[in-house]
Symmetry: D2
Subunit: 251 residues, 4 copies
């Protein structure tokens, strides 16, 4: 930046570097997406095309910022996990979260016509973002488990809610009907009343999307194409199996 007698105002900028050796999670969340979704006539409770667009934007972010080891998305939110040793932008929280949310949003708008070719973008979408530190693997995995448990709870609830509404109940009646009910009750309701087997819903709806780099193979660990391949899965990341299968993510 050019120098002038006004340059002293730069001293008002605070240092917001985050603690070393902690995992840094940047989580994005759509602003006013209930309205945004309705305005574009997206499917309820989940729209496969819109979710694919989220995944597409997430991959754009991960290709740009290679220190992101894993990302998890559901509904209108996405979490990106920077490696605990990243030195990117001096670990400044505002730099990391602003670049991630900006690139994600740009990709979301840019690739909208690819994923929703028959739906014109009517409004300018936007996302908020925050950066959170987790000091060890346990708390990081609990963070990701928290988001995936949220996916399940929300999807099950919303599937019931929209089934009730589509069968003639008002939104308020549906809400009242579901208040305080447990998982087993909701599964039963879906099955008995609406012939929906919750466990047969697309995995993307029930598990969200997990995006990570393909593990290096023993045959050719240095292969460029391998190293740069992203995997998008809709698997359980709460249990140990996933982490035992892909130990390179947290290593």
């Amino acid at each position: 930046m050019a120098n002038s007698k006004y340059g002293y105002v730069k001293r008002f900028e605070a240092d917001d570097a985050v603690l070393p050796e902690c995992w840094i999670v940047v989580r994005l969340d759509g602003k006013g997406f209930t309205k945004f979704t309705a305005a574009h006539g997206l499917a309820k409770p989940s729209d496969e095309r819109a979710l694919s667009l989220m995944d597409r934007a997430a991959q754009e972010v991960m290709h740009e910022f290679r220190d992101i080891r894993i990302a998890f998305g559901e509904s209108d939110e996405y979490s990106f996990v920077f490696h605990k040793h990243t030195a990117l932008y001096g670990r400044r929280a505002s730099k990391l979260l602003s670049l991630v949310v900006s690139l994600f949003t740009a990709a979301y708008v840019r690739f909208w016509p690819h994923c929703l070719p028959d739906t014109e973008l009517q409004q300018t979408p936007c996302f908020d973002a925050r950066a959170v530190c987790y000091p060890n693997n346990k708390t990081l995995r609990d963070y990701l488990a928290w988001r995936q448990a949220d996916t399940h709870i929300n999807t099950q609830y919303n599937t019931c809610y929209w089934a009730l509404v589509n069968s003639g109940k008002s939104g308020k009646e549906a809400q009242e009907y579901l208040k305080g009910t447990q998982t087993a009750f909701k599964n039963e309701l879906l099955y008995r009343e609406f012939k929906i087997n919750y466990n047969e819903l697309p995995a993307r709806f029930r598990k969200g999307s997990v995006v990570f780099w393909k593990p290096p193979t023993s045959l050719d660990p240095s292969s460029r194409s391998q190293k740069h391949a992203l995997m998008v899965q809709h698997e359980d990341i709460i249990k140990d199996a996933f982490w035992e299968q892909y130990p390179h993510i947290l290593s």
Copy 2:
């Protein structure tokens, strides 16, 4: 957010609310725009269409966040000033800066075809953002003066640089030639060698863009259309005249 045994991880989120009664500036800055500009064949040193797109995106942001009193843009950066009494999102820095940068970027991509109809978007652009507090009008005005002084210094330098390059010098030679030169020298160079009168360059290039709400008129202070009208100007905001003409901005 749905509840689960993992919900404790929310406690790792830090409170980043900024000091009350301070002006909050959110400044965006294009990431890698030298390359981005070259990839799209934009005019050097300034591209009127690209600057118009920045102004267009800035207006989208101001229409959404009414507590922004004034914005200033130049080149690939834009600063937005939230009123010192704003209570938006509890004054949390990450919320404010992420929403502004996300909406700005989304609008930038969405309106690209309107402002640059003959240039296809080849890359996903992105911006970083930071939030800075200024505790009084003096420091806020010095901040804005800092950015406008920067506009002048950069535009004058870049105009010389590209004139030299376009006349056959290499980039390195041009840089060497201009090293340590003063304003008067550069004006003289432009005029003598290239018949460019610096002061006749478009005001947008020399002064940047200042965006603010039209002041209420005495005739009809409550007129909705008036209140919602944004003005985009390319005037001096360093001297007092501008602030005396529009006292409502800082009031």
Copy 3:
């Protein structure tokens, strides 16, 4: 600090410099002083000697840190106001608050025998501290007014409470009796029942202590002795009069 391979741990220290051009208030507060007071048999509700000791310690702090412009004390708390332009220790909050609370506590213990010669120190006293920024004179003065209003409210309440207790009521009964009562009622109670004219209580009890540097005189503004003289008063600092009389404090 000596260098070694472990020196990298210094990078975990966060920068906690506070915003420039804001007044910095460091407020100390006695930890567990209800018990501490009882253990030493101090007078209820206010002990002149103990308050003098607080003032003595405050002066020690102000003699050491000349950028403190004014201090205000009541009961077991003291607030110190660093000038908004202070550059002391790079304005790092932890440096400023730790040095102030450490020196204050040291002086409190050191000068205890001077102020309470007949009472042996039985326990090690300690104070917590925090640093708070105020961006303008209005909010700083409101802060000081807040503390002085607190002094009045507490002293009046405690005077009533102890008068009731000393006249035979239990602590619980006294509390119940005073619950929700207004200023006028309490003044009346003191006067009618206990022949105490609240306004004749020592000003130190009702107004707290305000400590500041003697203003420079026109006769000899550079006189060293004058410049280094501290004034301890028990005056109203809520109204304008005090600030009009001593404009040098905030200048």
Copy 4:
């Protein structure tokens, strides 16, 4: 605190709670102790009585704040390690560091006559303090190793320096003589010139002081007296042996 219309100023206080699940180190450091030491004629380079006083004050702090698991002191500094799960004062950095430094300083002044009975306190001593987070055992142990390595380096240097000065060199000459020398050279110098075997200096000088709670015994783990017993040692805490012997400290 009593309520009044000024109470809004409390909103200017920032939340400074530190990240959960991190070790919290509060380090104190004497302000101007070179002068303070000289003013009281303490022994050079290390004064056993003054170091004992530091250890005494540290024990006072640990008896008050039971979540401190270990402390390490050398020269005029002391570090206190709060357990990573402590919830004390909501983990607010300013609360923790101010209470520790205040209590430490109070104890330092209070117990001065016990440890230095023949030396009257001439000045009010004070300490600064900071709080630093360490996210795992490795970085915490490296922090403590950093301080103990510092102890060795400083003590060896200072022992040489004062031996040279006491033998007739000026301070500047001694400094010049030692500039850039290695450990082996300094040990040799002490031994050859001054008949000092560095390794026979008191362990307190070479290793500093480590203070921690006695481990629970299998015979009577709930014995109150045991649980409340502090150990003060001058042992190596850089190597693993100490931590293997006392695994309860970090558990």
